[in-house]
Amino acid sequence: MSELSENAKQVIAEHLPRYPSKQAVTLPALHVVQQERRYVSNKAMEEIAELLELSPAQISDTASFYGFFRTEENPLGQKRIWVCRSLPCMLRGGEELLAALCEKYHIVPGQTTADGKLTIELAECLGACDGAPCILLEDELHLRCSLEDVERIANEPNAPTKKA
């Protein structure tokens, strides 16, 4: 059985004509797979490699460079929240927010809650320093966040998965 969904294959096919090399579709392919599955398995990397005429090692090389992609052994929870700890956020309570959130959910950054609902990550500058401390939910920034704000965001029902 194919590890890549029909949608993922279609997204990859749509991206191919945009670039003069097939390898350039690596990041778009990894993004669509992780968005659907919450991880990128070795099998998925093999299938991407086949579509892009690369070796699986080339896909793995790129995927592992970015701390962003998860392996099958360490999948993302239903939601991923990044808490910024860089200087502008640190000056306005970013580190305290991250620590309080970790204490609240009994995990350390990078881990997922036991019920699989929430992954907390530490982030370097998210580019929303005007709203420090800020967090990122999947790919949406939330500015000027208190612990209560983050808990509310974490407990909101999931928005339908967006197409990559």
Partner: protein, 444 residues
Amino acid sequence: MNPTEFKPVLLGRVGKPDSQSLATYRADGGYEALAKSLKMANTEVIDLVKNSGLRGRGGAGFPTGLKWTFLPKDVQGPIYLCINGDESEPGTFNNRVLIEEDPHQVLEGIVISSFATRATTAYFYLRYEYGRCYRALQKAVDEMYANNLLGKNILGSGYDLDIYLHRGACAYICGEETGLIESLEGKRAWPRIKPPFPAIEGAFRRPTVVNNVETMACIPHIINHGAEWFQSMGVPKDPNNPRDAGSYGPKLYCISGHVNKPGLVELPMGISARDLIDQHAGGVWKGRKAKAVIPGGLSMGFMTNAELDTPLDFNGPGRVGCLGLGTAAVVVIDDQTSMVDVLYNACRFFAHESCGQCTPCREGTAWSTKILERIREGKGKLSDIDLLMEIANSIGTIPGTTICGLADGAAWPIKTAINKFRGEFEEYIKSGRRSESLALAGAH
């Protein structure tokens, strides 16, 4: 020009209803600059941008028009324009606001710049974190295709261009132009050894120009109002320095940290950090004083309170020992904050974001962080201060030990913090003081 009379240019449409749509952009005169450019020779557009004195807004301040002229003259085959939207320098958020609020302004600049450089494909590399920007841009690009502003024969001119959005995956190094190109090509974002420079051999081994988002936003205004108008703002060339290219035009200043009103402010280039904080950011919070201020993103290093009258143009921060103007992201640190903690945060950032390719950077950023950890645990030695300086003086392109400038950016906060606040580091170590460490927050 008196700054109080200044009317925002780049942020002129921010806050207007539906400012993201093509309809409102056109109602405000949008895409007139494109129509005008397409009737000019591409070399005339380059000359206009060159004469305006526009320097890149991404951090290095390289003259934009000059960069475009480095493309070979007789190229057969494609030329690429890459837009650097991987804005990740701590303190910097101007690209985010420009894209979220007025995507067509940026896109018009991209089409004009592509026409000028004879590029037929533009790749917009956008950091993954900017999801709202991504969706605003995609919507705007779709509108452009539907209205003959992209694709084949744009506005009947015979010029063809495609713009593709390409999302990153959360790595600071992708903001380095050759790291960005490697990442675009689907590889790990290891910066390339230069030469060859991208103008000769860039994306997909083809001639390539990499430009910043704010730089692109300036272009339509230069086409509409001319080079002299652009030079009527900012700080003229220093007559005593033949190498100075001046600091012209409007500039977006990001203000964050310990101020009452953090935010984005547009002003003619050259305002002082003190005026920016007091007149445009509501002053330092809680009635305190500024101890240190970063003039242009973390990698530029620190200014002291006594240096705050320095003009924030391309030359000012360098005169007080900082690396440069950088991204004009001003971060204010109040007098109740420990510079040991601030420097630790800075070193930890660069250690986390070093790509690991060059040993001096990979090891230097990691060891400087470890030394500061030791100091913060109350186990520091006075000799650690000189050790930190030795590391800072040994990493980066300025001593010539690394491929890209990340290590210079890591070194400048160390050099300026220790040169300017050495007493505070000595006192901290001698007192055996410890900083509160948030154990969970340090995990990774």
